[in-house]
Symmetry: C2
């Protein structure tokens, strides 16, 4: 049976969820979104994601025509209709049907649910390889739909046998297209960039979890810092905490030895579990 | 009666031209386009625009599944069906319906026709005011659909009583979102940026036209250069040649005195006319 998608005021069978070509996402790449996990049919850290969604919308001058409680109710209805126990929900808000293909119109709101491979113990142990690339996302604090550079780089990433790209400007690291970046220094400090990035929800959780065991600093990381790091990892809702073994030609620390990210991954899983337990059935 | 839009292999009534929400333009802002004028039902400088369209597609790793002669035939059929004597045609090519919302798929091809205000003598004489803003378009040599910054800046442009924005990086000018930028120096030289810009078709025509009367240089322009300029103007298919009277708080030259851009505007109109006359009825 087909999945359901919510579009503006209707639940539609997936294949019927279409936007007219005058929408400003199609015409001008203008829109925002957010994405959160559904585990056992419960949304993970929904309040945090909705906070960021409304924030992105405001910063991009897109009115959300649904109140927060309406949006929550739509999300729970979608979860019930689709019954995809382990999945993700994406809320997208576009620039709307513009009469002149340029001026913002009433936004189109789309909620779609997707099966998604979350990081498991096996994926964690495999770790990933990144390549670096000079790029600064525009309006970085907004979770916009602008992934043109990330999509464009997919062929290079594949060619280099890597898993993803790490953006930097003049050797100062910012983020991966869909994940935040952390290093553990030789003296056990946890560092993650804070400027010109999208502040991930998982990044926030990891910073909170780490604070009790580590010295934690939100500050710039250079490519040189990475070379001297003991561990490196990325964080995102789907990737959770995922070790980085190699960046370009540089091997990080010792492969398979990652006590900090390993502990944070377990802490995060526990936090998720206790959070989900608090949500009423 | 409704206009016609061409979508993939069909001519559709405008209101039926929709893309599924899984398209990578909606999901990730990924796509390219080109835009050319239709005058007396004839396409202006079509060969140049098609050259650029195929070039943009190639650079963005988007296969165009129509041969050039097929595309030309579709354009002429669209012109005949719509009969919008003075208008513009936009060819859009998107990242396609992606199964994972990230990987490029078979592109969707859209041809739509729009009524558009071209620059006339009255608009030319009014001229425009620009504000400057620090921004560098990503993949600038590609006519991508990424206008997120331009759309986002519309409210600031309005607030400042301006008509458009001029992008720069560290005071080195690049372009307007939809137009190229020129100055005429005190000693009569015509200068336009060449790096990190989209090379407009009208820009190319103006450079060719100007070469016989002026010293022409494609080189960086700084904000200081603008302050000392005698004239400034922008070029684009719809704007043709359009004088800029003011940039931020700086008045350019003497308002209403613009012999160079005035002459180039007339030359461009003549070139357009003779070009269109060469197209068989």
């Amino acid at each position: 049976m087909s999945k359901w998608i919510y579009l503006n005021n209707q639940f539609l069978p997936e294949e019927k969820a279409c936007l007219h070509v005058s929408d400003l996402s199609i015409q001008r790449g203008y829109g925002i979104f957010d994405f959160f996990k559904i585990i056992d049919n419960k949304p993970a850290f929904l309040e945090d994601h909705l906070n960021r969604f409304y924030q992105s919308a405001k910063q991009m001058q897109l009115p959300v025509l649904k109140k927060r409680e309406e949006l929550v109710s739509i999300i729970y209805t979608l979860v019930e209709k689709n019954d995809l126990s382990h999945s993700g929900i994406r809320i997208t808000l576009t620039g709307g049907y513009s009469s002149d293909n340029y001026t913002l119109a009433e936004p189109n709101l789309i909620l779609s649910q997707h099966l998604f491979p979350f990081t498991t113990k096996e994926i964690f142990e495999k770790g990933i390889k990144l390549i670096t690339y000079t790029h600064q996302r525009q309006l970085p604090q907004v979770k916009s739909i602008d992934y043109a550079m990330a999509i464009w780089l997919q062929s290079l990433i594949k060619e280099k046998g890597a898993d993803d790209v790490l953006y930097h400007t003049n050797e100062v690291i910012t983020e991966c297209p869909r994940a935040n970046f952390f290093i553990v220094t030789k003296d056990g400090k946890l560092i993650t960039p804070v400027n010109n990035i999208l502040k991930g929800i998982t990044r926030m959780k990891v910073l909170e979890l780490a604070a009790s065991n580590h010295k934690v600093e939100e500050q710039p990381i250079t490519i040189d810092d990475i070379k001297n790091a003991r561990e490196a990892f990325i964080t995102s809702s789907t990737k959770r905490v995922l070790p980085v073994w190699q960046i370009d030609d540089c091997i990080i620390g010792e492969k398979g030895i990652n006590p900090v990210s390993s502990h944070l991954y377990k802490q995060l899983l526990n936090l998720e579990k206790s959070h989900l337990l608090q949500i009423a059935e």
